[in-house]
């Protein structure tokens, strides 16, 4: 006969309420990990979206995301001629605000040459740019729809394709324009502030782009191609892996520490709360525990009663919390990725937490004198 289950059934209303409360707390713990995974995934989207092998950027910089990078347009042709390069395309990146039906949204405009590396490798709907003017591929997160016309600067652009989950490391959705449109837009949008910049000679001009992206032939050696590019002193060549490592170290390390600390804090708080609940449940059962001892129940029976209840509480609350977060993941403003290995790891942590939290209750239960059952 399982005493833990019988007791829970007797007080099921209280137990369910307790589990509901606890599930919210554990849900927050799960969402912390999910938010972290989301940050990592978002940070890598930008560098993975074009699916290229090599990023050619301004010499001595780690551009174009970690540092600013400006290189001349003719770099593309120079790179394309290098042995092993299959194709090369110029790209620009620029943050701006657009107005959608939902209001003003911040986006990252990616300018690329249709038919060359730099555009979205995977589309969720529609097609990529085919003409070099007034077409746009937008991420679904912008709220834009296929076929919609949207005004940017002085021109109307038609949404011809949609991507899903393409955001910059700040969580802002990407929109893709042709390189010419993107540069024209940049030029138009530079207001008074930019004219000042221009006076200092800093203005980006259409002779410059942020990077040249290249793919290599299947039989070419990535490192030697990169070395060939880097022989030009004014250029650096970064592989896809370099870019990912850089973005991760720039964006993710701090977030990892921040969220790691927060998760540990929350787990500690959960431990304290579960400990309090278990302790209270044990106090409430002092007389029953004394009676059990009196009629001959060994400590193991009493420990099982307490620890099983704590674990049941943990398992139910955690499952509830995990379900809740999984269902709500899409409603978070930034990406929340709930993955099975994380859930499994957290579940194990919660199991340990429950056992640790039971200790206070267990200590009390063991100290209960069977004679306590006798009092009126």
């Amino acid at each position: 006969m399982n005493l833990a289950i019988r007791d829970i059934r007797h007080h099921w209303g209280r137990f369910v309420l307790t589990c509901l409360g606890l599930s919210l707390l554990l849900g927050v713990v799960i969402s912390m990990i999910g938010i972290y995974r989301g940050l990592v995934a978002d940070a890598l989207v930008l560098v993975r979206a074009p699916a290229v092998d090599l990023w050619v950027v301004e010499g001595g910089t780690k551009g174009p995301f970690a540092e600013a990078s400006r290189i001349p347009r003719d770099t593309r042709n120079a790179v394309a001629r290098i042995d092993g390069i299959a194709s090369a395309g110029m790209v620009t990146y620029q943050s701006m605000q657009i107005e959608t039906a939902k209001g003003v949204a911040r986006v990252l405009v990616v300018g690329f040459e249709p038919g060359r590396p730099g555009g979205p490798a995977v589309l969720a709907a529609g097609r990529t740019l085919e003409r070099s003017h007034f077409e746009m591929v937008a991420d679904i997160k912008t709220g834009l729809e296929l076929g919609q016309l949207i005004r940017l600067g002085n021109d109307d652009y038609r949404v011809v394709g949609l991507t899903r989950g393409q955001v910059d490391s700040g969580g802002n959705p990407l929109i893709y324009l042709s390189l010419q449109d993107a540069q024209a837009l940049q030029f138009e949008l530079e207001g008074a502030a930019a004219r000042n910049q221009a006076a200092r000679g800093e203005r980006a001009n259409t002779n410059q782009v942020n990077a040249v992206l290249a793919t290599i032939h299947a039989d070419a050696d990535l490192d030697s191609v990169a070395r060939s590019v880097s022989r030009w002193k004014h250029l650096s060549a970064l592989t896809q892996a370099d870019q990912e490592a850089m973005l991760l170290s720039a964006v993710v390390d701090k977030a990892r520490k921040q969220i790691g600390m927060f998760t540990v804090t929350l787990l500690t708080v959960s431990t304290v709360i579960i400990a309090l609940i278990v302790h209270t449940m044990t106090l409430d059962k002092a007389r029953e525990i004394a009676t059990l001892k009196l009629i001959g129940a060994p400590d193991r029976t009493i420990l099982a009663l307490i620890i099983q209840q704590a674990l049941a509480m943990g398992v139910i609350s955690f499952s509830l919390g995990a379900t809740l977060i999984t269902l709500a993941a899409d409603r978070f403003p930034r990406r929340v990725i709930v993955e099975a290995p994380d859930i499994a790891m957290l579940a194990a942590a919660v199991g340990v937490v429950c056992v640790i939290a039971s200790l206070a209750g267990v200590r009390h239960a063991l100290s209960i004198d069977p004679a306590q059952a006798l009092g009126g």
Binding site: M1, A297, A371, L374
Partner: protein
């Protein structure tokens, strides 16, 4: 007469020390035989409950010897490492307030003792049914303790005390919460158990309603036997 089932020799119990010392039981010799219902009487504070708890291995004697069912269990110290096992094997307790486990139903309250004693499931279930019948609470088998009347609850508590066939039944004020008719029935039942199971039943009571129903009466005053 057969050897006593409960035998105390020179048993003393004091609580505390120095100025707060209370001598609850002093140098007590007591024998209770199988098949008897013994009354433990005396004014409040005379040590009745303490004697019962000493026999039940719930409190530790300060000195003396206790033997239960032919086994010396205390001789200056407990001779068994596991007193709960000792209680499970030899002793059934009945309290003034029935002390049923509130989250177990009537049948489970009895079953739990048999589980602890390691009875196989089918045998235990037969025993539970038999006890519920015997104590006339079979129709309440699935009721929770809170749903029972005082008399029903006390009968279930008795069923639980009897479940593992203990040779010693200890009852502290078992009838105090019952009216005289129900108190009488409980006493009849205890007598029946004493006779049918060859058990020693020791009942602590103040209750005048049941005074006439004991085979032997031991009166305590200030921790000593004063003869009845």
């Amino acid at each position: 007469m057969s050897a006593p089932i409960v035998s105390l020799r020179g048993v003393s119990k004091h609580y505390g020390d120095g100025p707060t010392r209370v001598d609850a039981v002093r140098d007590l010799d007591l024998d209770i035989h199988a098949g008897t219902v013994a009354g433990l009487l005396g004014p409040s504070g005379s040590g009745k409950s303490t004697v019962l708890n000493l026999i039940g291995a719930i409190v530790d004697p300060s000195k003396g010897q206790i033997s239960l069912d032919g086994e010396m269990v205390f001789d200056g110290g407990w001779l068994r490492p596991d007193l709960r096992r000792l209680r499970l094997e030899k002793i059934g307790f009945i309290f003034q307030f029935h002390n049923l486990i509130p989250f177990l139903n009537v049948a489970e309250n009895i079953q739990v003792v048999l589980d602890l004693a390691g009875w196989p499931r089918p045998k235990a279930q037969r025993r539970v049914a038999e006890l519920l019948d015997y104590l006339q609470v079979a129709d309440r088998a699935h009721a929770m303790p809170a749903q029972l009347s005082g008399g029903q609850a006390q009968r279930v508590a008795i069923a639980r005390a009897l479940a593992n066939n203990p040779r010693i039944i200890l009852a502290d004020e078992p009838t105090a919460a019952l009216d005289s008719e129900r108190a009488g029935r409980v006493m009849d039942l205890l007598r029946q158990v004493a006779v049918e199971q060859g058990a020693a039943v020791i009942v602590v009571t103040h209750d005048d309603k049941v005074m006439a129903r004991f085979d032997v009466r031991h009166a305590l005053a200030d921790g000593r036997l004063v003869g009845a």
